[in-house]
């Protein structure tokens, strides 16, 4: 049964192996895991090592132990009895009386009860209802109870099925902080920072100096990465504005770049890139390509979705009749000038079959703008050419 759990986790792409298995066995042997509830918490602590996988744990746990929970159709059938909890206290005596039942007994009685019960019961001690000491129902106080629906003392299965950690999944959720964490991958250390004491050098030079102390200094290690961020501010990007702004904030706040520059563009890069999207103030794209050395890491952010002519013809929104270079050509020039470029697309990869998306993907490696996608993109950026 526990092996099933291990393999269910592996199917959810949680990296568990012999070391985790060993820890789980040890926990069982030590008696730290005694029931389903402690299996849920302690099992999670030894098998799952990031909150990003908590949701996968909930799914795997529910899959393996789903027999321990009331089947959903029963839940549905009796939900109407349980909609309004009945207030009213229960004495400690009654609670104590109820604790003696095992989960198996409780489940068996639950089934019997379901067959016998045909109407609503509240505040009682036997049938399924609310606010009572019966092991079945909601808002009740039986420690061994099966929670049919709603709040109150939660059981492991209710927790697992509640999937409260869904929002921590790394393939969906991103905030500024998570972006910043991801961006730290983008670094190349070089000795060009402030001076620090070089101990080995000091010892060597002192010895050479016949024991007279001779201090040696060397530059500390610093990140060499220069980042160029180019963001699409076009109309079709409006739904993603918040997400892109978070990425921008994260890149801006990260102080570990050697240099950081950002520009905006409309749908595609043309003759000019903008420093301010409201006033259309900008610089010639030509200058950007000339000023920045090929070592700069280039990150485009955009949905790459536009009318085909916007890519094939030049100009786009700034068309002043002097168009020589088409949009796609501009993108190619970025690709040939810089050693490493990536394109982050906030759209779901399912929609990437649009013509212009495919055309741009052929030029710049494209990754989804999720935490996982960003991580892959950054890995691509630091890979040596």
């Amino acid at each position: 049964m526990f092996l099933d759990l291990l393999y269910a986790l592996r199917r959810q792409r949680v990296p568990v192996g012999p070391i985790e298995w060993d820890a789980l066995c040890e926990a069982l042997r030590q008696g730290v895991i005694q029931d389903l509830d402690s299996l849920y918490t302690v099992g999670r602590a030894v098998l799952v090592k990031t909150e990003g996988h908590y949701d996968a744990w909930d799914l795997a746990f529910a899959e393996v132990f789903h027999d321990a929970a009331p089947p959903p159709e029963i839940k549905e059938a009796i939900r109407k009895w349980l909609e309004e909890p009945v207030p009213g206290g229960i004495s400690e005596d009654q609670v104590a009386q109820m604790t003696g039942m095992s989960l198996e007994e409780v489940k068996k009685r639950f089934q019997e009860m379901l067959e016998r019960q045909t109407e609503r019961h509240d505040g009682g001690s036997r049938f399924i209802g609310t606010g009572g000491t019966s092991p079945f129902g909601t808002g009740g106080r039986n420690p061994m109870g099966i929670q049919v629906a709603g709040g109150g003392g939660r059981t492991a299965m209710a927790l697992a099925e509640g999937r409260q950690f869904r929002n921590y999944r790394t393939d969906v959720a991103i905030d500024v902080r998570q972006f910043r964490v991801a961006l730290r991958r983008l670094r190349r250390l070089a000795r060009e920072g402030d001076l620090e004491l070089d101990l080995d050098g000091t010892v060597r030079r002192t010895a050479d100096n016949a024991g007279d102390i001779d201090l040696d200094f060397r530059p500390s290690r610093r990140n060499r990465v220069r980042l160029l961020l180019l963001m699409d501010a076009g109309g079709s990007m409006a739904p993603h504005a918040e997400l892109v702004s978070r990425l921008f904030t994260a890149a801006h706040q990260s102080d570990h770049w050697k240099e950081f520059r950002y520009y905006f563009f409309h749908n595609c890069v043309y003759r000019k890139v903008y420093t301010d999207i409201e006033t259309y103030r900008g610089v010639p794209t030509e200058d950007v390509l000339r000023e920045l050395s090929p070592e700069w890491k280039v990150v485009f952010v955009g949905d790459a979705c536009m009318a085909p002519w916007e890519l094939a013809a030049g100009g786009g929104y700034e068309g002043d009749g002097r168009v020589h270079v088409t949009g796609i050509d501009w993108l190619r020039r970025f690709r040939t000038h810089f050693r490493r470029t990536v394109w982050l697309n906030p759209d779901d990869p399912r929609f990437w079959n649009h013509t212009t998306v495919a055309a741009i993907r052929a030029v710049h490696p494209m990754f989804p703008l999720t935490l996982d996608g960003l991580t892959q993109a950054l890995r691509h950026l630091v890979r040596p050419v």
Partner: protein, 279 residues
């Protein structure tokens, strides 16, 4: 190590530190399994305080190793003061032939050398270099380290209870994670939060407590906040409310001293915008 340990459930939470049952179970699991407990969670959910509470509850001394961006693994073991030795040899003040006099144990070294069991807190492990946790693997596994200058091995007399906190600023290496028991402190729900607040403000009127917590969760629920307020902000805010003598009814209409809850100007603006729209 293989015999069942009947006294595994040792940590129960203390009067000053309220925990969820799941966290207590995980602390005890880590103690029973003799593995480090890695605690992650939003800032302000009491990760560091946990170690203090565990030490207090188990009646053990607490040794804290605050990790900084420049911290190296060896700093925790020992420090060989070579510059001092060079200097002494230059001026002949002291006997420099005894290297031992120039070796000082770090926090982890002291935890290993301690005559009694201790709780060792490695605080904010993610602040250091990416490789830092990997450099600690062997030491945490075998509970010993080697002092090269003396060619001696320091072995832990008693295995310390190791608690490691991380703010998730960097991802931790897989090999390191494998060896830890992991717990993510999720944000306290309302009932737990009321308990926590009562620890800090035992005399708080119930009406004020309830309306403040209700408003706090409302603010936390606002979409688009850059930094969501956490427990420590709530405690600060309540302190200001109590000091300012704000009555509970006032909270129903207004959000006084919002600056104690939200630390970023944009967030204050966001919340005020929502309120203006009647949300």
């Amino acid at each position: 190590m293989n015999e069942a340990n009947p006294s595994f459930e040792r940590f129960r939470g203390t009067a000053r530190y309220i925990t969820s049952p799941a966290l207590r179970q995980d602390v005890n699991a880590a103690i029973a399994l003799r593995r480090p407990l890695l605690v992650k969670g939003e800032p302000g959910t009491g990760k560091t305080l946990l170690a203090r509470a565990v030490a207090e509850d188990l009646g053990l001394p607490l040794l804290t190793w605050h990790v900084k961006s420049t911290t190296k693994a060896v700093d925790g073991m020992y420090h060989y003061d070579v510059v001092q030795r060079l200097n002494d040899s230059r001026f002949g003040d002291r006997d420099v032939s005894d290297i031992r006099a120039y070796i000082r144990l770090g926090v982890m070294g002291r935890a290993f050398a301690s005559e009694e069991p201790v709780v060792l807190l490695i605080d904010e492990i993610d602040k250091a270099d990416l490789e830092f946790p990997n450099d600690l693997l062997r030491e945490l596994d075998e509970m010993s380290f080697h002092v090269h200058e003396l060619d001696e091995t320091v072995t832990a007399k008693h295995r310390p209870v190791v608690i490691i906190t991380s703010n998730a600023e960097k991802e931790l290496p897989d090999a390191f994670l494998r060896r830890c028991v992991f717990h993510y402190i999720s944000f306290p729900d309302r009932a737990l939060m009321e308990e926590i607040v009562k620890v800090h403000f035992p005399d708080l009127p119930q009406a004020l407590l309830e309306s403040a917590i209700t408003r706090f969760y409302e603010v936390r629920g606002v979409d688009g906040l850059r930094k969501k307020p956490s427990t420590s902000e709530l405690v600060d805010w309540l302190f200001v409310l109590v000091r300012g003598g704000v009555p509970a009814q006032e909270l129903a209409r207004n959000l006084p001293f919002l600056g104690a809850l939200l630390k970023q100007e944009q967030d204050v603006a966001t919340v005020q915008r929502r309120r203006a729209r009647g949300l």
